[in-house]
């Protein structure tokens, strides 16, 4: 068969070629259709296509021989075979044999290089995408890709579209290595570099577009950020210089919409990209510097900026632009130098230390408490505290007061109740006059303690302040956090030594002021669902917990209703439905938490109903954080409100909600929203099965 094929590779009539092509590529399909169970293993696609690959190599070998002999040969049939195979989705199989061979053969032989370029160029346009994608995936590095594809992107419009648009902007599934291949390929030849700049411009446009930030999934934004960073690592300073103004505008816009986002991950992405670009465009001036927490993702992103674009073992063509980013290269080279030295130093020092210490067998005690001595004494009475906090500045006294306040409040319940609202007011308006490490936490704890000590008046005060003028968003969010934490505190059964049990019953939530992450909330919801499902599955297998009255039940209404009342009334300085959607998201989460802690209380049914209306009003909010909050609300409601009340009062709303949830679970761009919606649907399903099981 291959004899025929090879002859035809040189000259044949188009019809014959067409059928032949069809036969060759679809052979496994035809055979399996015909032979069914008795198909030979060699004709299974996973065996057949690698075989086809080696055959192609052989054909190419002969073509190259004949070319050397001075004969002119057409390669287009092989290209067509390749294209057709790729478009049939067998890129992996065929290229896994083809690429390594071609890589080897093209290393030093320019005829092979030319042939390889022709091979790809001759692939018909309609199959080009599949072939290019296959190559991008299969090659080990950018320079190999460059050798195999040549200047394909410049010559072929379709390939250009695939490489510059489709792979980068229209999808986000490729691994980082592939991105590096693509962008490295664009950077490796001077004739292609204009494309790299164009790509960067387009990427930056997407990155800076607020609608893209709002509506595209986080994963895609991560992908685009990665691509931008890789582009940056390939660009020369001169090239960046010429586009400085454009980049600058984009950074400004993009930063604004990224920092505006409610999702910490997106904010972080924005910060990293902006930082990186600014450090490239302002070589001498001040550069942007953000504060964010380092994690694996940020480290990975940053490493993209500095790492070598291709493995150094392969020899690259002479006209490559590897010298493009001198700073990146030197940094990458100098790094390994520095590290071993430091490591060796550390090791030697440690070694000597332990050696000399070996006969010094005293084990030190914990000395972390050894802090600088404070001269002033902390106040002993609540009223003194108020005086200190409102009075003239006395730095040390002020700090000491902040540190003892929580315990003082907890110890002197009666004294606190006398001044509770006043104290709450002072604390809410308290500014960080001097720097204390954990000021926010201390203040929050104190506020929570006040709220727990005297729930009704303080909750009334806080909820009324939430909707009043002249507060910062920070303060409003503090109010929400305090209310949620106080609710948790109140609903937790307080028995000495039962802390372990209570932690089982109510999951500990950490609502630190800095952590805007929705993880905590998510964890709660997970916990709720788990606890719920466990109840269905295992029945009464849990150990009976020590019972204590839920102190939250009598005051839940004071926490909940004032908060949910006014959300749709914009103030001059505070517009929940407008710009301040971050607070709205927090409000939704807080309401969900309040209802969750109000489980088994009389007010729960009414609260659930109100909450459902709230959710319904906001269900199409554009911000995913708000939507997550709403979905938490729904779970909370399903878990806290007794099921018979649900059916009596809000059955229609429930049905509507179910439809909405199904919609979200299917179509929402945010993965967390989809997951939450799915969990809610599951809860509803559980509810239904329970109702059916119950004899009514």
């Amino acid at each position: 068969m291959w004899e025929v094929c090879q002859q035809h590779a040189q000259a044949a009539s188009p019809e014959l070629q067409e059928t032949l092509l069809n036969k060759v590529v679809c052979l496994p399909d035809h055979l399996s259709n015909k032979l069914r169970g008795e198909n030979l293993p060699i004709f299974l696609p996973q065996n057949y296509f690698p075989l086809l690959g080696t055959e192609i190599i052989q054909v190419l070998q002969r073509i190259s021989d004949s070319l050397r002999g001075g004969l002119d040969c057409s390669i287009s049939f092989v290209s067509q075979v390749l294209g057709k195979v790729c478009v049939h989705g067998r890129q992996k199989e065929i290229l896994s044999t083809l690429v390594p061979c071609l890589t080897d053969l093209t290393k030093s032989d320019c005829i092979w290089q030319r042939m390889c370029w022709r091979l790809v160029e001759c692939v018909p346009d309609r199959w080009m995408e599949a072939v290019v994608c296959g190559f991008v995936q299969a090659v080990p590095g950018a320079d190999v890709l460059s050798r195999l594809l040549g200047n394909l992107v410049v010559k072929n419009k379709k390939a250009q579209f695939v490489v510059t648009q489709k792979l980068l902007l229209l999808q986000y599934s490729c691994p980082t290595a592939m991105l590096q291949n693509v962008l490295g390929y664009l950077a490796l030849d001077n004739s292609r570099r204009f494309l790299l700049i164009k790509v960067l411009q387009e990427l930056m446009e997407t990155w800076a577009s607020s609608s893209a930030v709002k509506h595209s999934p986080v994963e895609q934004q991560l992908y685009i950020s990665k691509a931008i960073l890789i582009c940056l690592s390939h660009l020369k300073d001169v090239e960046i210089d010429s586009h400085r103004q454009e980049l600058f505008t984009c950074v400004m816009e993009g930063m604004k919409c990224h920092l505006d986002s409610n999702l910490p991950r997106i904010r972080c992405l924005g910060m990293i990209v902006a930082e990186s670009i600014s450090s490239r465009i302002n070589t001498d001036g001040p550069i942007l510097k953000f504060q964010y927490e380092e994690d694996d993702e940020t480290r990975e992103l940053k490493s993209l900026l500095t790492q070598m674009p291709s493995p150094p073992s392969v020899i690259s063509p002479p006209d490559e632009g590897r010298k493009d980013s001198p700073s990146a290269v030197t940094e990458a080279e100098s790094k390994p130098d520095r590290k071993p030295v430091a490591a060796a130093y550390a090791v030697s020092e440690e070694g000597s230390d332990s050696e000399l210490d070996s006969d010094d067998d005293f084990i030190p005690y914990d000395m972390s408490a050894d802090k600088e001595l404070k001269k002033t004494k902390a106040p002993l009475y609540i009223r003194d505290c108020i005086e200190v906090l409102t009075g003239p500045e006395d730095v040390e006294k002020w700090e000491a007061t902040m540190r003892v306040l929580e315990t003082l409040i907890q110890r002197n319940t009666a004294a606190t109740q006398e001044v509770s609202v006043e104290l709450a007011k002072v604390l809410l308006h308290l500014e960080e006059k001097i720097y204390i490490d954990d000021f926010m936490e201390l203040r929050q704890k104190a506020l929570v303690a006040v709220t727990v000590t005297d729930p009704v008046p303080v909750a009334q005060y806080l909820t009324s302040q939430f909707y009043s003028l002249n507060y910062s968003l920070r303060q409003r969010m503090d109010i929400l956090d305090v209310l949620a934490l106080a609710a948790q505190e109140l609903s937790r059964p307080k028995a000495p030594g039962k802390s372990k049990l209570s932690s089982v019953q109510t999951p500990y939530i950490q609502i630190l002021p800095g952590s805007d992450s929705s993880k905590d909330w998510r964890r709660i919801v997970d916990e709720r669902i788990r606890s719920k499902t466990r109840r269905f599955a295992k029945g009464q297998s849990q150990v009976e917990l020590v019972c204590a009255p839920n102190k939250f039940s009598s005051v839940a209404g004071h926490f909940f209703f004032p908060l949910i009342q006014n959300f749709d009334r914009p103030l001059v300085t505070f517009d929940l439905l407008g710009d301040d959607h971050f607070v709205l998201g927090r409000l939704a989460h807080t309401l969900a938490i309040l209802l969750y802690f109000a489980v088994n209380t009389v007010a729960a049914a009414a609260m659930g109903k109100a909450l459902l209306e709230f959710v319904w009003a906001l269900r199409f909010h554009t911000d995913s954080y708000v939507r997550q909050g709403l979905l938490s609300c729904v779970s909370s409601m399903l878990l806290s409100v007794p099921s018979d009340r649900l059916l009596e009062d809000v059955i229609e709303e429930l049905v509507e909600t179910q439809a909405w949830l199904a919609d979200v679970a299917e179509k929402d761009p945010d993965g967390d929203c989809r997951r939450l919606a799915l969990q809610n649907l599951l809860l509803m399903e559980n509810l239904k099965t329970k109702l059916e099981a119950a004899p009514s």
Binding site: D357, F362, Y365, M367
Partner: protein, 332 residues
């Protein structure tokens, strides 16, 4: 290396309350065998010397011999039968405590009004040397006991500007050898005196502020001193009798009122103005523990002289009228 969590610092073994005044000095006497009890002498600001029974944790006896003026140094001679106490009434009293007596049998008056504690060294059977601040503000006088004859007066050269002596430590390289004196002065320097020649051998300016306390380990020829600053200074004495700074250790809070090396030369304790007692390994000054119990300046630290190492105690006396007793690092 095993990464284990450090243990929390221990609590005191017990606390002695009832001195009714800031405690300035402590001295153990725990060598005697049963049926006698280990005892602790304490001298406090109200001029009383109290003898604590460490079995019952009660005061056995109270000695009042300084006219209500603060007692800031006590030391036993001849076992526990005789006691020396130095008070702010400018007297050093010799107490006879044998067979239940408690009377002052002898006293030496000093003209110095400083806070410098005396130092006692046993030279032979029934012969002691005592170093004490002399009449002239910058001099140190060494007397022989019990005869009270002056051995020498250590006078710095004119223009040395040392200020008053602040702390003294008599020592001898081996039993019967010629005794030396380490003295810390107001200007922050530590001086090594040769007593037989009455001559200054070496001077080391190791602090900026007055030296509050020092202790010297004659075996390792290494000593430690603390001042009102934030550092502990460790210095060593070489063969040419020269003092050299060996190392300084930075502290968190300033002010060391007392520093003592345990008899086995393994750990040392400091009494801090920051209300804390600090324990260091003596070999490398490795910080071992910070004992945070007192609520006012700690004035003195003292290790007990138990013959069995496992019983050894550490006592600290503080301005808060309490004496805390600790049991630390006794297992070796």
């Amino acid at each position: 290396m095993i990464a284990t969590m450090a243990l929390p610092p221990p609590d005191p073994e017990f606390v002695l309350r009832g001195t009714a005044a800031p405690v300035h000095t402590l001295h153990f006497s725990c060598r005697s065998q049963e049926p006698e009890f280990p005892i602790l002498f304490s001298g406090s600001a109200n001029g009383l010397v109290q003898i604590w029974n460490l079995k019952t944790h009660r005061v056995d006896k109270t000695l009042d011999g300084h006219g209500g003026k603060s007692v800031y140094w006590v030391e036993t001679i001849r076992g526990r039968d005789e006691l020396l106490s130095q008070g702010r009434d400018q007297k050093i009293c010799l107490w006879d405590l044998a067979e239940g007596r408690s009377m002052v049998t002898d006293s030496v008056s000093m003209d110095s009004v400083g806070f410098c504690r005396c130092s006692l060294l046993k030279m032979a059977q029934d012969r002691w040397l005592i170093a004490m601040p002399a009449d002239d503000p910058d001099e140190v006088q060494v007397l022989e006991l019990p005869s009270k004859t002056s051995v020498c007066t250590l006078k710095p050269e004119a223009g040395a500007k040392l200020g008053m002596p602040m702390c003294l430590k008599l020592w001898q390289p081996g039993f019967g050898a010629c005794p030396f004196l380490m003295a810390g002065y107001e200007d922050g320097s530590v001086i090594l005196w040769n007593l037989s020649m009455g001559k200054m051998l070496s001077r080391l300016a190791c602090h900026q502020e007055p030296v509050m306390s020092l202790d010297f380990d004659s075996e390792k020829a290494k000593g430690v001193s603390g001042s009102s600053e934030k550092v502990l200074s460790v210095w060593s004495l070489d063969e040419q009798q020269n003092l050299k700074v060996h190392k300084t250790h930075e502290l968190i809070n300033s002010g060391i009122s007392d520093v003592t090396i345990r008899q086995d030369r393994k750990i040392l304790a400091t009494a801090g103005w920051d209300y804390r007692i600090r324990i260091f390994g003596w070999k490398k000054m490795k910080p071992l523990a910070v004992l945070d119990f007192h609520t006012a300046t700690v004035h003195c630290v003292s290790f007990s002289d138990h013959s069995r190492p496992s019983e050894r105690l550490l006592a600290a006396g503080s301005k808060d009228h309490r004496i805390s007793i600790w049991s630390l690092y006794n297992q070796t």
